[in-house]
Symmetry: C2
Subunit: 381 residues, 2 copies
């Protein structure tokens, strides 16, 4: 098995709505990543998308994007793990290059969401028979987890507000972030409307459009494409019961614990070596539980990390350094690719105003559904 | 990279409609394959499905099937390439084992179709913007290809009828085939109703339900699980323009030519070493064009292979030996896994009345959409 590195990145700013079609949006991000790597073709293209079936009426997005790029006779497929699809596609591209089946592989995440039907489509990441059919939606399940957490650990009202506050602050210096230009105060977060009690507006990441891509190559050839390759040290997937209430402890996020352990073990590092953590902050409570399950906080203590400043850019575990899903935006299938592009920028000193001080190792998690899929990656420069 | 073998297979008979839910159907096939391999867990589970988003309102089928099997903390993901999804999932499982990221990987294909909306859902494998939006469906495009072929090569009416006739004859000895009990004559095929001219009923594979699964392990450990492992010698994917009319010659099926070349090269064999060819006979014209593009017939000559007996069980290139998609059935996401299970049975002398004489090398193709994705695998015993 060969070591694999990222040799090119490309993305478009996240927007509420793009006029570009899905194919053009996905192709443009891939083109930018290919340009960054200085290549005009790839051997394989893995596409990540969540809602194309319903949003675009399109179920064959591998050849769709390859076609728009003018690439034929290559490997083009779609990989899915609900909201973690981007990480799933990256993992398959990683395996393709690691195993020697491709020398250059592109991964593109692209999503064009229709806000009119997003709630219904997003719910399909849950258990259709045992959750959706009972009247649950993604937010209703998130609300139950948040209530359970606040009750069990006696978290004061607004105890999780620091997560969205941090994300919005960090997004101010990321020109590709959806809420880049928005000034968000603690007060605005506190006074925002309730979505499903106790989840309020700022506890949720936004419905939006976007596309981001990376190019992978064997590490030993990486410097032919870029002076600043970033290597993929660890990659792991773990599942949990699909229905949240089937889990022994819904607040434990076992799949996150397992995928983190596997990925860190593969990377031969541990939590204290991780300089920053691009976290799947789709909802405040998921951020909090991810910090705990991934071993950065004890159960019930995750929410204190924000208040104590530990997850801020100058803390010991910076998260969502460019705004995260909350403020950069969460165009579902594209999200993990945005995270990866941001990690590459951080590790190679290109993160602008949000640049951390010479980080060497980054971790990323990707949460599918209500944490029934967890994918963890570890990167190093 | 490690060599990889199939060490277990399992499937349920194809039926018009199963009462079992998608999760139970998929889990049952996987359980049978695991039982065949003598294992009670796997490291990874790759799921293939086409229409779960619309048929079941479920977009997260990796953890769905793993959950039903009682498997947690494992890698569970979905891989898609439209009607070739089963082969795509198998390829990813192959890469996972080959690269050393899993020692035991299951691949399950499962489909529960809703005939009320199948035409609409199947069309999404085409180009949504440039074909579906113009009024095309899968069958209308297939009809255009068939008409073009018959005109260009002066094929007499009914010239392709031998393909469905062969498939139905071969299915008579396959108890898992949908049309196992149906007696189909040349006359019935000739007199059947037109679907979209010139495509008639028997030129189309049926809408149906099914599930099939395989277990993969490193070849060097394969005999710990079975006395009759089947190795995967070649695996390759190629794409073509998504819209059929964008291809230089829509009858050439370039992606089939390329994926066949790649897979045979990887397997270090050529067409004359292939003892039988499990072909994606979703439509008569696709069977015909596949034989040509894969190098078994000259352009315009594929249809003669049936008349000349060459593709029958005692011919030099037997195809669809257990009924193929046409008569075993084509439960989309499950199809390539049924093909693979049948290949394993043929190569290990378990194909019953349809057993070929000591075949050693088999080829399989999987066609996504109207041949915008082609996946070819080569197996050996």
């Amino acid at each position: 098995m060969r070591d694999v590195s990222i040799v090119g990145i490309g993305y478009l700013p996240v927007k509420k709505e793009y006029d570009l079609s899905l194919r053009k949006l996905g192709a443009e991000a891939t083109r930018r990543a290919m340009q960054d790597a200085g290549v005009d073709k790839v051997d394989a293209l893995f596409v990540s998308n969540f809602g194309c079936d319903e949003f675009q009426g399109q179920k064959h997005v591998g050849p769709l994007i390859a076609d728009e790029l003018g690439l034929y006779g290559i490997e083009a497929m779609q990989v899915r793990a609900a909201c973690a699809s981007g990480a799933a596609a990256m993992r398959v591209a990683y395996l393709t290059v690691a195993s020697g089946q491709a020398d250059l592989a592109a991964v593109v995440g692209v999503e064009k969401m229709d806000p009119e039907i997003s709630t219904e489509i997003l719910a399909k990441a849950l258990d259709a028979e045992r959750e959706i059919a009972q009247g649950d939606t993604m937010v209703s399940i998130i609300a139950r987890l948040m209530r359970m957490y606040q009750d069990r650990y006696h978290v004061p009202d607004g105890g999780l507000d620091n997560f969205p506050f941090l994300a919005h602050q960090n997004s101010r210096h990321n020109p590709a972030a959806l809420f880049n230009a928005k000034e968000i105060t603690q007060e605005k977060i506190r006074l925002a409307r309730t979505i499903v009690d106790p989840v309020k507006l700022f506890d949720c990441s936004p419905v939006c459009d976007g596309a981001a891509a990376i190019i992978l190559a064997p590490t030993e050839q990486a410097r032919a494409f870029t002076q600043t390759p970033v290597s993929i040290l660890g990659s792991a997937v773990a599942n949990d019961a699909l229905r949240v209430s089937d889990r022994k402890d819904p607040l434990r996020m076992d799949a996150a614990r397992i995928s983190t352990q596997k990925a860190l073990q593969m990377a031969k590092v541990d939590q204290k070596n991780v300089n920053f953590f691009e976290i799947h902050d789709a909802f405040s409570i998921i951020t909090c539980l991810s910090l705990e399950a991934s071993g950065f906080a004890q159960p019930g203590e995750g929410w204190r990390m924000a208040a104590e400043g530990r997850i801020w850019p100058d803390g010991d575990v910076p998260i969502s350094t460019r705004g995260g899903l909350k403020a950069r935006g969460h165009p579902i299938g594209a999200t993990a690719l945005y995270q990866t592009c941001e990690i590459v920028e951080q590790l190679t000193g290109r993160a602008g105003e949000n640049q951390l001080k010479a980080p060497e190792i980054a971790m990323m998690n990707s949460v599918g559904g209500a944490a029934s899929t967890l994918i963890t990656h570890v990167f190093a420069v």
